[in-house]
């Protein structure tokens, strides 16, 4: 089977700063991949370009065998229009570091309204789906609360349920525990652990939780200067890294 | 084409002369507002609750009622209690007093924008109250106030035509007189509008420059 996500020679710059420098990367269907590396190495940008939150300056991204930023019109390949982008986005869900729940809606509406608006699901079905997912992340007693009343960990679990409601093929997790107080990290990781047992779901996470990355990923990608400096199974990357920079990074992280 | 450029050209010098009165009225009223505003701001920080409440109530009242009627009040009522002033003076006092209620709020907000920690640090370093104020607090409080105050000055500039209603012959009233003498309204009114637009655009641009300088 073809990979679900392919990045080929992807370049992204912010002014003079080169964030992705000819990046090549593949993720297989159902694979759980962790992106680690120093800050500014381009990990989050990878997720943001896949989600179309950032455009790319060169190269190609394919999702499910189809180009993200280009589409076929007749025999020609033209830049993607909004309809194409929306169809591509529907395959991908994303969870943010800052949760980005909609503060003017209750927990239930945060999960239910997007699928009603975007997928056009009828209310009863959307509600049932939302309630099921809210229960899955263990927040059934908070359905009618507003996000401002929840702890960070609870908000992040709602955000995960909200993304899952679309039943995406790929889930992107962008430092989802970095904004949390230490005691709240565990409850969010437990939800991710549970999702990792879903064999169909592809998960790509940017994380600083090395222990967790090691525990649930099939593959670790170590990023540096907008490229993958080293990759392999968790055992390989964590136990016998071949790259000096990987070794230095892991030592620094362990000392912290 | 109802716009007569020849006529417009012939009245422009008169209007520009009258703009000097308008600009003078703006500066004088603004100075009055800065001074009264300071007293009001001090009053709002008074130790006596009665003073604080009284001043707060008065400023709220003045801020909620029209400048025009306030000017009428000064213009018609003051002479009855024996105070006669030229209309210009009545106008600038009225406009200045009206905006002093807004400017008092600018002073207050400026002082409160300085973090509490700055006072505490000044106390810890054994500064006296007044030296802490002049050397630590005010230097931090004043720069952010400047663009806000300047914007109020522009707002006051645009309120000066109200003085025409108490017979001050400023820009608007000059145009009015020219227009009604010949019953030709298009040129004088349009010119007045353009003069106002030009002056406020220049002034706003100036404020933006100051703001950019202050923010760094």
């Amino acid at each position: 089977m073809s990979p679900i996500i392919t990045l080929r020679d992807v370049r992204k710059t912010f002014g003079p700063l080169v964030v992705l420098d000819g990046l090549n990367m593949e993720v297989q269907r159902g694979e759980k991949v962790a992106l680690i590396g120093p800050s500014g190495s381009g990990k989050s940008t990878v997720l943001r370009t896949i989600m179309t939150l950032e455009t790319i300056d060169g190269g190609e991204i394919e999702i499910d065998g189809e180009s993200l930023w280009h589409m076929k019109r007749g025999s020609r390949v033209v830049p993607a229009n909004e309809a194409h982008l929306r169809r591509m986005r529907s395959k991908v869900g994303m969870v943010f570091q800052q949760f980005n729940l909609f503060p003017h809606w209750t927990v239930l509406k945060n999960v239910m309204n997007p699928v009603r608006t975007v997928l056009g699901l009828p209310e009863p079905e959307a509600r049932a789906r939302a309630e099921e997912l809210i229960a899955l992340v263990g927040l059934q007693d908070k359905v009618n609360q507003y996000p401002g009343r929840l702890s960070g960990g609870q908000q992040q679990r709602v955000a995960i349920a909200r993304a899952l409601a679309f039943r995406p093929k790929v889930m992107l997790f962008d430092e989802v525990t970095s904004a949390l107080d230490p005691e709240l990290v565990g409850e969010v990781l437990n939800v991710l652990r549970m999702l990792a047992h879903e064999h169909d779901l592809t998960m790509i996470m940017v994380t600083h939780q090395m222990g967790f990355a090691r525990e649930i990923s099939d593959r670790i990608l170590f990023f540096e200067h907008g490229r993958i400096a080293e990759e392999g199974t968790p055992e390989k990357v964590f136990n016998c890294p071949t790259n000096d920079r990987t070794r230095a990074f892991l030592t620094a992280v362990r000392q912290a | 084409m109802p716009f007569d450029f020849e006529f417009a050209k012939s009245i422009l010098p008169h209007l520009l002369e009258a703009s000097v009165i308008t600009i003078a009225a703006t500066f004088v009223s603004f100075a009055i507002a800065l001074v009264i505003g300071l007293f009001l701001a001090l009053g709002l920080r008074s130790r006596f609750a009665l003073v604080r409440r009284g001043i707060w109530g008065a400023t709220q009242f003045i801020r909620s009622t029209p400048l025009l009627v306030q000017l009428y009040f000064l213009f018609f009522v003051l002479p009855e209690i024996g105070i006669t002033m030229p209309p210009f003076l009545t106008g600038v006092i009225g406009l200045g007093a009206h905006y002093s209620c807004y400017i008092a709020e600018v002073y207050r907000a400026g002082l409160e924008s300085v973090p509490k920690g700055q006072w505490e640090a000044a106390v810890a370093l054994n500064y006296g109250r007044s030296r802490a104020m002049t050397e630590i607090i005010l230097p931090q409080a004043i720069p952010p106030m400047i663009p806000v105050l300047a914007n109020y000055m522009i707002t006051m500039f645009k309120d000066t035509p109200v003085m025409a209603s108490i017979t001050v012959i400023e820009l608007m009233q000059t145009a009015n007189i020219i227009a009604s003498e010949r019953f030709l309204y298009v040129e004088p009114m349009t010119l007045v509008g353009l003069i106002f637009l030009a002056l406020s655009l220049v002034a706003s641009f100036g404020v933006r420059l100051i703001e950019g300088r202050l923010v760094r």
Partner: protein, 220 residues
């Protein structure tokens, strides 16, 4: 005091006109504020430019000049409006320009993450604007809109100068017919103050209702 009682119908008529002009001009100002404020954020340069010109012109010229221009100059172009219509148009357009900046800054103040989340959830641009951004921007707009409406109420006094029989006009009429000064002007000032109190009260209520759910958690 007896003067005020005798003149009560005159004053009430004035108050009614003041209230009508305030409400109608506020509606116009609100519509203009939203159109121009959103247009300022448009991705189309020409739309942004038109909105900017509108805002700068109507904010840059003294309202009284705009009012007189519409009242005296428009008839020369064969546009004949009732004085009260002129009043509502001038005040609504001018305050709409101020309101546009309120709308623009409130919309811009909604955190970027909200738009990104909506994009990740596959909302269209329009859906993002109306379902996610505007509902969060409105509570931020309410306090400045409340202040703007008070300012609008105050400037309605200028319509007396173009013969509309509002509160200020009636004050001047009473002053001229009775030769009393303090009483009519004080009564009218109090009248404006009372209307302003009602406006403030309504906005306070609206702010309380709109604030639901927006007490963001400690993480913001």
């Amino acid at each position: 005091m007896s003067l005020i009682y005798e003149a009560r119908w005159v004053l009430l008529e004035g108050a009614l006109n003041t209230i009508i002009i305030t409400l109608a001009a506020s509606l116009l100002a609100g519509a203009m504020a939203f159109s121009a404020g959103l247009a300022r954020l448009s991705s189309i340069a020409a739309v942004r430019c038109i909105a900017l010109v509108y805002i700068e012109v109507f904010r840059g010229v003294a309202l009284l000049v705009q009012l007189f221009w519409m009242f005296f100059v428009l008839p020369f172009f064969d546009i004949h409006l009732e004085p009260i219509t002129t009043a509502i148009l001038a005040i609504g357009l001018c305050n709409g320009a101020y309101g546009a900046e309120i709308v623009r800054s409130a919309i811009s103040a909604v955190p970027r993450g909200q738009r990104e989340a909506a994009c990740a959830l596959n909302y269209t641009r329009l859906q993002t604007l109306w379902r996610i951004v505007v509902p969060q921007a409105i509570p931020m707009m309410l306090p400045p809109f409340g202040n703007l409406m008070i300012e609008l109420l105050k400037v309605t006094a200028l319509v007396s100068l173009i013969t509309v029989h509002d509160l200020s006009f009636q004050a001047l009429t009473l002053q001229q017919t009775t030769m009393q000064t303090a009483a009519p002007f004080t009564a009218v000032l109090v009248g404006y103050f009372l209307i302003a109190l009602v406006i403030t009260g309504i906005f306070r209520l609206a702010e309380r209702r709109a604030g639901v759910g927006l007490d963001r958690g400690g993480l913001r």
